[in-house]
Symmetry: C2
Subunit: 307 residues, 2 copies
């Protein structure tokens, strides 16, 4: 029988620190050419379709596989994602994970790598905009790579914001302060995570401290973006985890549609060369999270091995 996990309890056998390490290695594999991660493939059917991210890693893990999710209702929380892991040498189906957690945790872990590599060293204040699943894993990932003097969270829903702060303070063991406005959340922040579903800007450029780093997790398209466009124009560093996916999006992606912005760099190259930000660089750095294929498969493989 193929090993199948669909109980969320079983996912948590892997820690965010382990996941961040796996993702850092995966990004280095991109540069060494052992990670295969093409752009997504979509089957159009019915009101939407199914989106496949496929990939593999041939050196450290010798696995191939995919994650698939529906694009009929991509933000529906009851919709399952399916991640499948194959042995890339023998072709054997090693296991399946049913549940959207794998993708979210992976995105969180890559966000952690991005913060670790792109943000300035002396970061004291973390700001979170959004209180959904992505905000949760991004927070965990930020805490896996940095320590903070203060963590501030904002959501339009004040009750939800307080609940998130209470719960995540408990889970992570660090104080998290719910605040009353997005501006209050970000104005002193060294690192900002935007993880909303907003199609209009939730933070403005003028609120940002010089040299701040942003993990842009939510909408990032020219017709729907949670960051004010001028933030990108003020940026000194833009990077993404999936240049292939950026290429597939083309002008739909806001950073590709704007003029006067720095080129979108490959996070993998920056990680592999152990890039570190010059202290004097007071521009904004933005990590444009697109989702590197194959990384969910690497994470799922690690979870399956913990069984």
């Amino acid at each position: 029988m193929t090993r199948i996990i669909q109980d969320e309890q079983d996912f948590h056998r892997i820690s965010m620190s382990e996941a961040v390490d796996l993702m850092r290695d995966a990004l280095i594999s991109v540069v060494s050419g052992t990670l295969v991660a093409p752009a997504r493939h979509t089957l159009k059917v019915g009101n939407g379709g199914l989106t496949f991210t496929m990939g593999g890693e041939s050196k450290n893990h010798q696995i191939a596989g995919f994650r698939v999710y529906d694009s009929v209702a991509p933000n529906a929380t009851d919709h399952q994602h399916l991640t499948a892991v194959y042995d890339s040498v023998t072709g054997i189906l090693k296991g399946l994970i049913v549940g959207r957690w794998v993708g979210d945790f992976r995105t969180g872990a890559i966000g952690g790598v991005a913060i670790d590599q792109l943000a300035h060293r002396d970061t004291k204040i973390l700001s979170l905009i959004g209180t959904g699943k992505q905000a949760r894993t991004q927070l965990q990932a930020a805490l896996a790579v940095r320590t903070f003097e203060a963590i501030r969270v904002f959501s339009r829903d004040a009750q939800r914001c307080r609940n998130f702060a209470d719960e995540l303070s408990q889970v992570t063991g660090v104080a998290i302060d719910p605040v009353d406005s997005s501006r209050e959340a970000v104005s002193e922040a060294d690192i900002i995570i935007t993880a909303t579903t907003s199609s209009t800007p939730v933070i403005l450029s003028e609120w940002l401290k010089p040299g701040a780093h942003i993990n842009l997790i939510g909408p990032k398209f020219s017709d729907a973006c949670e960051l004010e466009p001028s933030i990108f124009q003020r940026a000194s560093l833009l990077a993404t985890d999936s240049p292939d996916q950026a290429l597939a999006f083309g002008d739909q992606l806001i950073v590709e549609s704007l003029t006067d912005v720095p080129p979108l760099q490959d996070l993998a190259t920056l990680v592999a060369s152990d890039y570190s930000r010059p202290v004097r660089d007071q521009g904004i750095s933005v990590f444009v999270s697109l989702g590197l294929a194959a990384t969910e498969v690497i994470l799922a493989n690690a979870i399956l091995q913990k069984q």
Copy 2:
């Protein structure tokens, strides 16, 4: 929890007759435009890759989904296929089936539709070349649509051939005779099923009775084909279940690489128009089985509903 079936016992809740009916309706859906069945998509990784057949049906079933199998060792019997079924209206993952049986049974059932629609009415003798999983389901499908006075089976491995004949006689309740040569198997046959892995011809044109029908299940490529090329040139009717897949193969497909052969017709069109073969047509008819995407998803959906 998502419904998951991986015990082969549970697959058999659907009969071959039911499966043939589902496949006939699926082919009619192609013509009415409610079945989406693009050519396969392959992820290349490691020694081979993963092959995805994706599709959906928007009227009768309102489902979408896919089957995926490895192309590292496509003929390895211990390798699992995975079939996933989604509700195409809500995007909910309805269920998963782990096991290669779904694809084989589907191929069998479409073979049954092909025999029913393309072979002459007065068929008395059925011949099977090959004794693998595909031969088994093709035989079941042939018996679901026709009755025969004699059934003959040949395999290069005489013991395996006797075992297959004994076992399938028991399962199906009809006499199956193992014979000593391919020629002996096919020389009087009205319907022939070739389901081997042979890359060289297992039957020759001169052995065939005028007007015979062949279900070509095994290799069908210009560089590896289980039928002698002249059989296609003697054919009066060639049809396939997946014109899109035929187009994707192009000249690799033997029928597309030969001259002086009839055009490859769409089985769906012949089924939807309830084609029936003129009695005077004494040419050979060949069904080139390529595998129509979405049909595995329809079959898996029916199996999941039986739970």
